[in-house]
């Protein structure tokens, strides 16, 4: 049994139709605020109960791939990331749209996404058993190191004012502590309100800070600059294809990085996007570095290849160890089990044929995604032609229903209102929103892994120094946090 025979197993028009349907649904789900990849896969899981294993699983794979990519579309065009994984894409993507380069940005996003999923699926196919050990080496101290490393990115995405970026990050970390303490279940800052026990879900906060506040800003610009129905972007330049070859190194590196992060249990596409973004920025040349956040194509390529790289990576521990690598993989585990397939070390013996068909299907899903993405760009950019008045209304309506859909809960809708108003004033006063989102994603992980590590070591901090992976990650985090600080300090001294 090999991969070629796996492709033959796909030679059924029904399977291709399901793959295309899955990717299309995924793109729609991903581009809508509030509907994440996890939710998309979970929503369609019951649909697959009545299907055969391969079509059912491939429908979900299509949704998974499509929704991670789909998040970038609204992030680039409207600065409203559809999924947390696309928050990093919004930084340079929206800047490019404002410069009239929406088409180029969207093309980079889809090609980088395709690159990310193909590389990660190839790693899944050929290196799974070797890579699975990475997952086993990650215990609490290493996870803390990874979370800290992710958080250190705040200093490089802070924007104009480092202090304001750090304040946003620390406020985000504080918000993340609201609710039941993950280690002892002690309720913190809940004021005896049951809705606060679970803490703030970070997705409504993200929708508020990005989408809702962006709608308010658009409205303000519109009031200032009255006239007929104005367009969001004045110009729409042709795609700059000559840029692509220059981006391949970034895409390749980010795809590998994303795959590795996907393998580590507990770290998902959102973490991968930010880490890849930071790495691309760190190793950029001087003039190029300054362009990050202002419309650097490498920013999009890194974030998108990174978050899509997680797709294959997250399947590695699921298929080889039977342990889901992230929230989406946990739902996928349910899909396998329902079909009577137990993911785990024996899966290649018990269901080898099925596995290779599935792998082939994943590669096809990545290609389908790229084709749909490239063909769709003409359609996606039409969003920019929608009259601004209507666009503002649509963003607010979709944000509202998207926030409600997360948990069938009105509280999340009130959160987007509050976060939207706060986000508006933050933008007015130069406080960046992405550090808050990053802090909400990584804060709980950093805190609980830190305390879990100390529980395991019975209070000794040496556990972080004596384990090589943990020590390396923590050292990298400190380096990455303070380098921009020092650079700025010396620059200020010079002037």
């Amino acid at each position: 049994m090999n991969l070629w025979e796996g492709f033959l197993g796909l030679a059924d028009p029904m399977i291709l139709i399901l793959l295309v349907t899955g990717v299309l649904l995924g793109v729609i789900i991903g581009s809508l605020p509030g509907l994440t990849a996890t939710m998309g896969v979970a929503l369609f899981l019951p649909v697959t109960f009545g299907m055969e294993a391969i079509p059912g699983l491939l429908l979900l794979i299509g949704i998974y791939f499509g929704s991670i990519y789909g998040g970038s579309i609204a992030a680039i065009l409207l600065n409203t990331p559809g999924t947390p994984a696309a928050a990093a894409t919004a930084m340079d993507g929206y800047a490019m749209t404002k410069q009239g380069e929406a088409r180029t940005a969207l093309n980079i996003a889809v090609i980088a996404s395709g690159f990310g999923s193909i590389i990660s699926v190839l790693m899944l196919i050929f290196l799974s058993p070797q890579l699975a050990n990475i997952a086993l080496n990650f215990s609490a101290p290493e996870m803390f190191g990874l979370a800290l490393f992710g958080l250190s990115i705040i200093s490089s995405i802070a924007g104009a004012s480092l202090v304001k970026g750090l304040i946003a990050g620390v406020v985000g970390l504080l918000i993340a502590t609201i609710g039941m303490d993950p280690m002892t279940s002690y309720p913190r800052y809940t004021f005896d309100q049951p809705v606060l026990l679970e803490g703030f879900n970070f997705i409504p906060i993200m929708i508020g800070l990005f989408a809702v506040s962006e709608a308010f800003i658009m409205a303000e610009d519109y009031f200032k600059d009255k006239g007929g129905p104005m367009k969001v972007a004045a110009k729409l330049l042709k795609t700059n294809w000559r840029l692509m070859p220059k981006l391949f190194p970034t895409m390749t590196k980010s795809s590998f990085l994303g795959s590795i992060i996907g393998i580590i249990p507990g770290a998902g596409a959102d973490v991968a996007a930010f880490v890849s973004y930071n790495e691309a920025q760190r190793f950029a040349k001087k003039e190029d570095k300054a362009l990050f956040g202002k419309g650097n194509p490498k920013g999009i390529a890194a974030a998108e290849a990174g978050n899509q790289g997680v797709t294959g990576g997250a399947m590695v521990p699921l298929l080889t160890l039977g342990i889901p690598g992230d929230a989406v993989a946990a739902v996928m585990l349910g899909a396998f089990v329902v079909q009577g397939i137990q993911p785990g070390p024996q899966i290649f013996q018990t269901s080898g044929e099925l596995m290779y068909t599935l792998f082939a299907g994943m590669l096809v899903a990545a290609i389908v995604m790229v084709i749909i993405g490239l063909l769709g760009i003409r359609l996606f950019t039409k969003v920019l032609l929608v009259p601004k008045t209507l666009m503002i209304t649509i963003i607010l309506v979709l944000s509202t229903i998207g926030a409600f859909a997360i948990n069938n809960n009105m509280f999340d809708v009130y959160v987007i209102l509050g976060a939207g108003i706060i986000g508006y004033f933050m933008k007015k006063h130069g406080f960046p929103a992405s550090p808050i989102v990053l802090a909400l994603i990584l804060g709980p992980m950093a805190e609980s892994e830190f305390r879990r590590a100390l529980t395991m070591s019975e209070g000794s901090l040496m556990i972080f120094a004596t384990r090589p992976i943990a020590a390396t990650l923590i050292a990298l985090a400190i380096l990455s946090l303070f380098t921009p600080l020092l650079v700025k300090f010396f620059k200020d001294r010079k002037n």
Binding site: F138, T184, G266, A330, N407, R452
Partner: protein, 328 residues
């Protein structure tokens, strides 16, 4: 507060509507209601997310009950608060037998931990118990602990064993704590965010043991990576026939999760009887049992009386255990 006002604003007109439509109380017409039951589609409220073990049990049950009753049975997931949100919603749902709630052991543990104001006696009537999974003390295959006796001896001799669980206050933490109290040892409980990362840490050799359900370790056990030392059950578990129970080693401790169907407490008894009969046929059908086994879950059916007995026993256990743990 605002939410409360809003819901008041909705309740008043709704009550007015209800008052005009039908002035007979359900209690007086229990028999009539039972004769006509089910009048329309039914619903199973699941307090956990799609795709999890609880959800899969509910869907398997709903699908089979649908055939039994000839009315559609839908599943709606209301997650949050470690199950409290969905169970509360279930307790408040319409008491006519058409909305059922899949409750789990958390119905008993959450109130004792002060995390939910639920009462299994006052809020629900049991219909059928569908599944039970006992805690399995599992170690790495390379571990020095070959038997549960080795393990207990090590704990007795003062070794500080690191036991992973799926979260503080979760049933698998309570199971390990109960064992700790029984053998008078001292475990270092390491809470994880769910069972999967705990198993991952055990596989990587970062902790000494986990106490989770057999389904969560069975693959690794079959593959020879992990070893189950004992299950905390009265009888041996079908999936692990060679693994002794704790009671075989002289420790009388049976603890684990279970899942069952309930209806709100105000549902007329006659309706509950009709539903319980249908549920009994469904839960004991080959098709349902096969589904539960495919999911690698433990099958156990109990009728309303047996289900009540189980909850009474366990409530007494948790009522003693949880306060003694000083969780918060």
């Amino acid at each position: 507060m605002k939410k409360y006002l809003l819901s008041m604003g909705m309740i008043v007109p709704l009550m007015a509507l209800a008052a005009c439509g039908d002035d007979s109380s359900t209690e007086a017409n229990g028999e009539e209601a039972a004769e006509n039951f089910p009048e329309n589609s039914l619903e199973v409220i699941v307090p956990y997310a799609e795709g999890g073990g609880t959800d899969l049990v509910a869907r398997a049950f709903a699908e089979n009950l649908q055939e039994e009753l000839g009315e559609s049975v839908s599943v709606s997931n209301r997650e949050g608060g470690g199950g409290a949100v969905g169970m509360q919603a279930g307790a408040n749902s319409s008491a006519d037998g058409h909305s059922m709630t899949l409750v789990t052991v958390e119905l008993l543990t959450l109130p004792h931990s002060g995390l939910a104001e639920l009462s299994y006696e006052e809020d629900f009537k049991p219909v059928a118990l569908l599944n039970e999974d006992s805690a399995a003390i599992t170690v790495h295959a390379d571990s020095d602990y070959e038997t549960i006796e080795d393990f207990i001896d090590a704990a007795d001799s003062g070794e500080n064993l690191q036991i992973g669980n799926s979260g503080t206050g979760a049933i698998w933490h309570l199971a390990a704590s109960a064992l700790e109290q029984e053998i008078d040892g001292s475990f270092n409980h390491v809470p994880f965010d769910g069972a999967a990362p705990a198993v991952n840490n055990l596989l990587g050799g970062h902790i000494d043991a986990v106490s989770v359900s057999p389904a969560e370790v069975i693959n690794q056990v079959e593959n020879g990576d992990l070893r189950v030392l004992a299950v905390m059950a009265d009888e041996r578990v079908d999936a692990l026939p060679d693994v002794p129970t704790l009671s075989e080693t002289g420790i009388d401790l049976s603890i684990g999760t279970w899942r069952g169907i309930t209806v709100p407490a105000d549902t007329p008894d006659e309706v509950v009887d009709v539903l319980a009969d249908a549920a009994a046929t469904t839960a004991q059908s080959d098709d349902f049992i096969e589904r539960i086994e495919t999911l690698q879950l433990g099958y156990r059916y109990e009728d309303p009386a047996g289900f009540t007995e189980l909850m009474n026993d366990q409530d007494a256990l948790f009522g003693e255990l949880i306060p003694s743990l000083d969780l918060n």
